[in-house]
């Protein structure tokens, strides 16, 4: 499955996420080890280089489920045409605030033992990401993400 950004993939959330990431400067996030397992930990490093423009920053882990659905579109003549689309749903997220100021900071998160494992399939997928959000008053929030892998 392609996890690229397309409007059809996640009808509401992803276009806004895409916009946040495009306008984000001075905020980077990554998993120190790119692979862990359910019940294990992941250490997340967030690097802030433009603290004044980011507002309050939070760092976290997010698991998104992508699943194919059959939907229909109504044609102008009143008939309906079925089509296949991929929807998404956040199935796990944990967030932690980060102290203000520039530099690299780390946070450790535990993957719940009963959470999904990383899986990229044809009609069902689970994607884990580390994420950082900068809450900017009166402006679009800043957002950075990076994928990591959770083994069963």
């Amino acid at each position: 499955m392609d996890f690229g950004f397309s409007l059809g993939k996640s009808r509401e959330v992803q276009p806004l996420q895409l916009l946040r990431r495009l306008v984000t400067r001075g905020l980077e996030v990554s998993a120190v080890d790119r692979q862990t397992h359910r019940g294990g930990d992941v250490e997340v490093q967030v690097t802030i280089s433009k603290p004044g423009k980011l507002g309050d920053v939070e760092v976290g882990i997010v698991c998104t489920e992508y699943y194919d659905e059959l939907e229909t579109v109504r044609d102008t003549d009143g008939s309906t045409t079925p089509y296949r689309t991929t929807s998404s749903d956040v199935v796990h997220e944990t967030w932690s605030p980060v102290e203000p100021g520039s530099g690299a900071k780390t946070r450790r998160f535990t993957i719940p033992p009963d959470a999904p494992f990383s899986y990229s399939g044809e009609c069902l997928s689970f994607k884990w990401e580390v994420a950082a959000l900068g809450h900017r008053s009166g402006r679009l929030d800043a957002e950075a993400r990076s994928e990591f892998f959770v083994r069963p």
């Binding site: 699943y67 659905e69 749903d89 899986y119 044809e122 009609c123 069902l124």
Partner: protein
């Protein structure tokens, strides 16, 4: 007439790399070109399903199936087999499918098996 089967497995729960052993009993004979067992990893959402992995036994028997006969099979799960998982919008699971290849619609006897995660070593 299509045959009917009864499927017996040595057990219902497995770990990656283990062998699934079982027997297919022909409870009602019928026309068949070939009999085969398949171990499959399925993805399923409310509207769609896909087979992500399919491990065939090869032909257990070829030709007409006679009532009262039985066929043993063994299929190995991959060492890195993923476990079953049920989510809010879908499911991943292993299933054994005994398939009789027939003219027209094939006959299937299916049974889900539980596959649990491999033990974590290190990390």
């Amino acid at each position: 007439m299509s045959p009917r089967f009864q499927l017996e497995l040595e057990r219902e729960r497995y770990a990656p790399g283990e062998t699934v052993k079982g027997t297919v009993f022909v409870v009602e004979g019928g026309g068949s070109r070939a009999l085969e067992a398949l171990l499959e990893y399925h993805e399923e959402t409310e509207d769609y399903s896909e087979v992500a992995i399919s491990i065939p036994s090869g032909r257990l028997y070829e030709g007409e199936l006679v009532t009262g006969t039985s066929f043993e099979f063994e299929l190995s799960l991959p060492p890195d087999a993923l476990p079953n998982y049920k989510s809010a919008h879908g499911e991943l699971y292993w299933e054994l499918d005994v398939k009789s290849d027939e003219a027209g619609r094939d006959t299937h006897e299916r049974r889900r098996i539980a596959v649990h995660p491999a033990r974590i070593s290190g990390s």
